[in-house]
Symmetry: C2
Subunit: 411 residues, 2 copies
Amino acid sequence: MTDAASPPPSMISVEDARARILAALTPTSTEIVALSEAWSRVTAAPVTARLTQPPADLSAMDGYALRAADATLGAALTVIGAAPAGHPFGGTIGPGQSVRLFTGSVVPAGADAIVIQEDATRDGEIVRINEAAVAGRHIRRAGQDFAAGDTVVAAGRRISARDIGLAAAANHPWITVHRRPRIGILATGDEIAMPGEPIPAGGIVSSNSHALAAMVRAAGGDPTILPIAQDTTEAVAAVADAIAGLDMLVTTGGASVGDHDLVMSGLQSRGLVLNFWQIAMRPGKPLLFGRLGAVPVLGLPGNPVSAMVCAVLFLGPALARLSGLPAAAPPITTAILGGAVRQNDRRADHLRATISIAEDGRVVATPFTVQDSAMLRRLAQADALILRPPHAPALQSGAEVPVIRLDSLGL
Amino acid sequence: MTDAASPPPSMISVEDARARILAALTPTSTEIVALSEAWSRVTAAPVTARLTQPPADLSAMDGYALRAADATLGAALTVIGAAPAGHPFGGTIGPGQSVRLFTGSVVPAGADAIVIQEDATRDGEIVRINEAAVAGRHIRRAGQDFAAGDTVVAAGRRISARDIGLAAAANHPWITVHRRPRIGILATGDEIAMPGEPIPAGGIVSSNSHALAAMVRAAGGDPTILPIAQDTTEAVAAVADAIAGLDMLVTTGGASVGDHDLVMSGLQSRGLVLNFWQIAMRPGKPLLFGRLGAVPVLGLPGNPVSAMVCAVLFLGPALARLSGLPAAAPPITTAILGGAVRQNDRRADHLRATISIAEDGRVVATPFTVQDSAMLRRLAQADALILRPPHAPALQSGAEVPVIRLDSLGL
């Protein structure tokens, strides 16, 4: 029995395709980088504190360290010293004594309270207490932020600016990270030229290589743009000699001559092991995944819009996985439809949409009325992709839909 | 008449402070970078298309170009040639004729319709039409994406991966962008050491410089970490000799000795013109802004959490403005409170919070119960700042609040 509404066996779902790609990838090896170069890299080992922070009980305010029992309202204490931050007081505070402190100063031995300077009147060697001290108040306890040995930045995390501060505070001048994934990018086609170079008759300027290289950079990878391969099996096959050391080869196009797929046949002549090559999705059905020797190969459509949408769905997660981040789908959030959408067919659809914020603060995604996959300018104007699963029902404006935001990922 | 609930005149609001900072800044000068280096830079001029895309009417599918009038159901046409993409057919299609085309092929002269290959049966030189042609269908019109002279990427825009693709397609090998803002970062304090170096007694490891440098990088700037200045007026004053060519000097700390602010006094001894130095906010009241010769100076608090929160509120928008982006507040979105918050006092508060997604897809911001500004680890764990304006009323869980997301900005 066949179900006419289901994709043929060779067409797999977006989720299945992504799972197969992620299962075939492993994180890159590790390297050590200076803290100043570690921002946005992915930790390959936990960063554990090498010291305790604060290292001692510190004053949280400018004021006077003293014994709470002495510092009753109206009491007058002797100031026996001062301890600016970085210059601890060496002695011990005894009964009736105090030491001038500042924010960050070490609380001297013998003291158990701080009276802030706004609550004290200084007169030479004497300080008068205008508000009774509370033991422990305005003191930051040793280890309150972290203790030596604590993990302050977990492994497998993209390092934020705040993580950098935390790793510094934990006394790490070097950080162990995953090597940037090296991604080779191969555009194919007799009709394409690089920007600024002569354009063949009826040809166009190559945009995929550059857009994909930028996307690789946005994901923290290291792109290599390979020379354009002409539309012959031999030209494509020759790329097999140029991929040693790559963590992935990404191709675009090669289906443009229709009757035979040059990327597949060219790379198969050099030993490509195919995993799958068709996905039940739009735009971008002809998507190839396999392995050429040690190098995973992701074959994207030649159409620029299809290539970028497939890159968001598959290359982004692949780059994350190679970088040492968890294997996952792109971040999917919920938005309110700003316009009606039709019932979907059996192929998952990815509608280009703009994002706006409604008066109640909710996120509204409005699909462009024309979704032609040849319109690169429209793709660049899109803030999000609205996800339409296979056979999703027609929806009216105001319905909730899953979206992938493009506007905050550098994409 | 004084209003005890209002800040003193020297304390200005967050919004006023930001407006004063932004008004004092102008975008950096411009430079030309290769397209491959242009990702995430800010355009300094519009990118206008140097060609028309598609350059001619192109086939959107694999099939046959023909005259719609000929291609009735069951008609048999002569195939007079083939035109792979990049190899246009030179002749003209006459009555009863057709040319084999592929996706991206130029539609030959004389043709006004495409019959896709799924709707045709080829037999040698003859192609039989199984579904009547519709004039214009499956043809991508010349200029459908953009026409020569169209602006494809506006000026003053951070260049996305998709913009890179669009600029490439529009035939631009070089892009005019704003120079990366050069930001000097000065940490002050006798008590601080660089990571891995000897730590003075009672001292801590400097985290602000590194966190701020990472934030500058995240915003596309070029950070220079200056050597730590000791807590003397002379040491701070000496930095005035090291700031030529900077677009901004950012300092941290210098108020740690309480009775006198070393950054202010040190830089004033070299001609600092003060704009303001106190903001009615928490964490981070003592924030200084001024100008030292040609260089704007932003003085952040020494406390790491205060420094980063102030950096999000003021340095981020300043970097955007210097980079050529519009002068604006950080992106503020709406979230649902995941826990109750108290009535606020006269100082704008910025509660560190985690973000989660509710079942209905709404974004929930849950403030940490302890908001101690010394807790750097907690700041690194925060996904957002909940904005609490001066005198904001107490709110229960479920209320809507404005938030600044930290989790998607590399911060």
